[in-house]
């Protein structure tokens, strides 16, 4: 078995998020094989499916800096992305009894293996937060829509944490049940100077090849993927109705 690897970003974070959903939908219809996508995007705030923009984001900071807010189709928290983050997405079909446990318990080992190979000692907290030296360096989110397994995450390599902290609202007080590591984030570069997004990219490809016991092959996005992403971009990800309002009123 082999895993297709796609290194693709469009230059527009809204299109990049539309491409994520296109991957899930096309894999569901067997139009593409199992795929690992690696991508970066420009400054943006990505909201979890059930999150409210006004609760999570300092909207004046976002608009003052021209930073778009985009809703993703997976649950979980709100994140800040910029060119210093390496994002990865894996879409696959597998017959497993407990798909969510499989995604977080088995597939996510690809990320842990990648960081280990770079000399870090990563571990998981709260099921899917990747932590190095007591600080969260990566968050992940999964979905099992359309009969496919989908996992994506973002790794902080050299992101603008000042911007992150001014954009995202952090509760002033934590309830005892909230693990504060969720809000204690760091770039990998803090622990190893000189590391770049390219280093992490190579390690992720090797990490996922090893975690899934598959060979990898590099490909370009197909015309069909780009067309599907274009439709999703036009109808959904470019629209405030999807990005800013809760999806309850939106035909997803």
């Amino acid at each position: 078995m082999s895993l297709r690897v796609l290194v693709f970003d469009s230059g527009d974070p809204k299109f990049d998020l539309a491409f994520e959903e296109a991957l899930g939908r096309l894999r569901a219809g067997d139009k593409i094989p199992d795929t690992l996508r690696l991508w970066r995007t420009s400054r943006s705030v990505v909201l979890g499916y059930f999150r409210s923009a006004e609760e999570d984001v300092n909207l004046d900071v976002a608009s003052g800096n021209g930073i778009p807010l985009i809703r993703r189709f997976t649950g979980g928290g709100t994140v800040y992305l910029d060119e210093g983050c390496l994002n990865y997405s894996i879409v696959m079909k597998r017959k497993v009894e407990f798909p969510i446990s499989y995604l977080y318990g088995t597939v996510l080992k690809g990320t842990l293996a990648a960081l280990k190979s770079l000399g870090f000692s990563p571990y998981l907290r709260n099921t899917n937060d990747v932590v190095v030296n007591g600080k969260k360096v990566s968050g992940t989110a999964a979905s099992i829509k359309w009969g496919v397994l989908f996992l994506h995450g973002s790794i902080l390599v050299d992101a603008d944490l000042g911007m992150l902290n001014s954009l995202l609202k952090v509760p002033r007080e934590f309830k005892p049940s909230v693990d504060p590591v969720k809000y204690r984030v760091a770039n990998l570069r803090e622990f190893r100077g000189g590391i770049g997004v390219g280093d992490v990219m190579e390690s992720l490809i090797e990490g996922y090849s090893s975690a899934l016991s598959v060979d990898v092959r590099m490909e370009e996005p197909s015309r069909r993927e780009l067309e599907a992403a274009e439709v999703l971009y036009r109808l959904k990800y470019s629209r405030d109705e999807w990005n800013l309002k809760l999806p309850s009123s939106y035909l997803a």
């Binding site: 059930f50 999150r51 977080y104 099921t127 899917n128 909230v178 309850s248 997803a252």
Partner: protein, 92 residues
């Protein structure tokens, strides 16, 4: 009209339920949070299930919803977590 907001932190993710109470009924029911629910759209169906009903019926409607929807998966979150968020909302 009274606005109710309640939160509960489940093992994985915060659940927040809010609604307006008008003449003893829940209106504009909204469920947000950083939890995971698969399929994601089920949360809107739950909102709709509660919409317009008497506030004393909401808990049993939640039970009914999850009992009927055997396809829903909520990793590290259970029905009791949603009910606790609701109870916290009703306390206010």
């Amino acid at each position: 009209m009274k606005h109710h907001v309640g939160e509960h932190k489940a093992k994985k993710g915060l659940i927040r339920i809010e609604f307006d109470e008008r003449d003893g009924r829940a209106e504009h029911v909204r469920i947000t949070g950083d939890f995971f629910m698969h399929p994601e759209e089920a949360v809107h169906e739950l909102e709709q299930k509660l919409e317009g009903h008497g506030i004393d019926e909401l808990e049993s409607l939640m039970d009914e919803f999850f009992a009927m929807r055997m396809d829903i998966e909520m990793p590290y979150v259970n029905i009791e977590d949603f009910k606790l968020a609701l109870k916290n909302a009703l306390k206010e």
